[in-house]
């Protein structure tokens, strides 16, 4: 228990440190490498100060961003696979490897650990829960040993029944007998291994270090019995219950948080980048470029995008990346173009830009160093609300069954399950909906604070 608490504190502390120090540092470095000054001007400083002074927005921002950064390392925090497992001279880091495989998909990082290497007999994947149970109490080996012993006995019996083949026997018969014999040998070996393993476990020649919450969204909670629906119960160790196919909802929600937020961030980020480029070109060059591309934006914007995505998703099962690209192309770049275009028009006509043009500064410099930094206010103020919209879009698509492939931990499909079981299992609605609403609400709070900080409206009226 104490170990877990320390683990949790370390995770939170590291997450905070990463979010507040390391990642901003990296962003500044990258920006400098790209030739930007990356120094906060007094305007930016003032805005940041104002943002920090709006407490609920600032704390929401910290909460969401730290949680998100932590969630990038979920595999080593919430995972059925242990961080570290050792049996005699076999060691493995399954969870760490899974995290690495997620982050570097181009390298072939195997996360498979074989049973026979970890004293469980057989060639399938290690049953970590069993490993843990045996470690705690070696009596847990007994059923296994009993089972294997019975198998050995059965094998011995059936072998006895067979007459040993002679030289004249057909080849197939001979081979069959040999196979049986080999089978018996391996069973015996398994039994011996198990007995040895039990001793080794008792001696403490094995070790397992589990993650903070040792369950995965991809497999069912076998420890709870055969029934599918398990309502939340702290005593049983399922704080949020299980889904219809017995998966742990807490893990689903956590992994779903990562998927939803990274989806929204990618869609918003890439979409706004396209929007800035298109809107910037429209606003800076104007003329026919502007007129024609505006018509195009208008036509494109008339496509009912949700309907379109559903049509496409009904024909091919979309992947995460495909859904993101569809949403980017059909929606997320559109709204911001209009604002950026307006800002570019306005800033371009201002005298400081005219002065730069008159000095012969290149278009690229004017756009990136003069106009762009002064026209990003709408992007910054819209981004949080965009993120809310894109999270909702993903949840809606998943809810309708046209989103991520089945088996992906997603809030939308959980809510859909909730709808299907609304009468009997209300917790199936409440938990995912609460998670969704808290997340969206925090992002809205951030958005409101950002808007207030970047675009403060001083309303005065006569009375």
């Amino acid at each position: 228990m104490l170990g877990k608490a320390i683990y949790l504190i370390i995770v939170l502390a590291l997450g905070t440190f990463l979010t507040r120090k390391v990642i901003p540092g990296i962003i500044v470095r990258i920006g400098r490498l790209m030739g930007f000054r990356m120094r906060a001007t007094p305007i930016t400083k003032k805005r940041l100060q104002r943002f920090k002074s709006i407490k609920r927005g600032y704390w929401s921002f910290l909460g969401i961003s730290i949680l998100f950064v932590i969630s990038l390392f979920l595999e080593v925090i919430v995972n059925e696979k242990p961080l570290y497992i050792r049996y005699k001279n076999h060691t493995a880091y399954p969870a760490v490897r899974e995290l690495a495989a997620k982050w570097f998909p181009f390298f072939n990082i195997s996360t498979f650990t074989s049973k026979k290497d970890f004293g469980q007999g057989g060639t399938s994947g290690v049953d970590y829960k069993l490993f843990k149970a045996c470690l705690e109490d070696s009596k847990n080996f007994d059923p296994m040993i009993e089972r294997t012993r019975k198998r050995v006995q059965r094998a011995e019996k059936s072998l006895k029944r067979l007459k040993p083949p002679t030289k004249d026997s057909p080849k197939s018969k001979r081979e069959f007998y040999l196979a049986k014999k080999a089978g018996l040998a391996s069973r015996k070996k398994q039994l011996a291994d198990l007995l040895e393993a039990k001793k080794a476990f008792e001696k403490g020649d094995a070790y397992i270090l589990e993650t903070l919450y040792p369950w995965s969204p991809s497999s069912r909670r076998k420890d709870l019995g055969k029934m599918a629906f398990h309502p939340p119960s702290l005593a049983k160790g399922v704080p949020l219950g299980t889904s219809s196919n017995g998966r742990d909802i807490l893990t689903l929600l956590l992994y779903g948080f990562r998927i939803s937020l990274s989806f929204a961030l990618i869609v918003a980020g890439v979409g706004y980048l396209i929007g800035i480029i298109v809107g910037g070109l429209q606003g800076y060059y104007g003329g026919w470029v502007d007129i024609l591309s505006q018509r195009f934006v208008e036509v494109w914007g008339s496509i009912p995008f949700l309907f379109m995505i559903m049509i496409i998703a009904s024909m091919v099962t979309p992947t995460f990346l495909m859904l993101a690209i569809l949403l980017i192309l059909l929606r997320s770049w559109l709204g911001i173009t209009f604002y950026i275009r307006g800002e570019f028009y306005r800033e371009k006509s201002k005298d400081y830009v005219q002065a730069a043009i008159a000095s012969g500064v290149s278009d690229w410099s004017i756009i990136t160093k003069h106009i762009l930094p002064n026209s990003l206010v709408p992007v910054v103020t819209f981004a949080p609300f965009g993120i809310v919209a894109f999270i909702s879009s993903l949840v809606s698509l998943d809810f309708l069954g046209f989103g991520l492939p089945t088996g992906t931990p997603s809030w939308g499909s959980l809510i859909r399950e909730g709808l299907d079981n609304i009468v009997l299992y209300p917790y199936l609605i409440i938990t995912p909906v609460t998670a969704l609403c808290i997340t969206l609400f925090s992002v809205v709070m951030v958005g409101e604070a950002v808007r207030e900080a970047f675009d403060p409206k001083v309303f005065s009226r006569l009375r």
Partner: protein
Amino acid sequence: METTMDTDKTLSKTLLEFQELKVHFPIHAGVFLRRVGEVKAVDGVSFALREGETLGLVGESGCGKTTTGKAIIRLVEPTGGKILFDSEKMGKVDLCPMTRSELRPIRSEIQMIFQDPYSSLNPRWSVGDIVAEPLKVHEPGMGHKEREERVAWLLEKVGLTGEQAHRYPHEFSGGQRQRVGIARALATRPRLVIADEPVSALDVSIQAQVINLMQDLQEEFGLTYLFIAHDLSVVEHISHRIAVMYLGNLMEIGPAEVLYRNPIHPYTKALISAVPLPDPRKTRPDRIQLQGEPPSPLNKPSGCAFRTRCPYAEPSCAEERPPLLDAGSDHQVACPIMMRE
């Protein structure tokens, strides 16, 4: 009298000359946005700037004075005519047909001061960076340290201090900002400075400081100013010569003294008499009160643009645009009727 003026003319050579400059902005309308007409912002303007002088360009809003100034450095595209510039680097060239990249080396010789001291400085740049920007473009070989020294020197020249280079525009008052704008314009050691209403956004007590500064700098660096303004009293004070524009046309041009004391064109007369005098005892007996408002440049009157408001208009005024006629002593007027008298 005339002979002395003529020698004056030969003494200072022409730095920049407009020949029938036209700047028209197209108007698109109709279902297919066809070009249906144009706003003739500047419609055939010819005059010259002499080296070392200040030429005041006055007129009411929409008369094309700012457009004329901006056409020189191609902040607006000229539609026709020539802008001949006597460049130090390239000799006498016509700026109109040049492309932007061809124009770039010449830009260091022509700089601009803007009207609004608030929007003319990038709020996200420190004052030092703002002043250094033209240097980075035109003297890329200059080292960082040398550039910093130059910026400090420039700031001191305009009455600020070198330490203020690290400050940002919002920490300065309007007058100080205008000084920064002047420092930026001077950074590349230009020969011609286009000053577009440089003092009209400033408070009265600050105006005089900036006017003095501009005059001092002109003497020190031998600058030529095209001083665009609507405030006749300021223009009259600072200019050697004054040109008056109305609806895209040049109405009258002449030495400031002559033009102010003896205006010939009815519009100039009206303009001068409309300026209130800071002297309560003086009332203008000959005040010409103009009726109505200037017509829209969209449907400019035929012939003389001013004829619709002119008290002396005759039917012949509608026929053709009156040419600039010589009225002696370096004074030209585009009004044959007043010249007749």
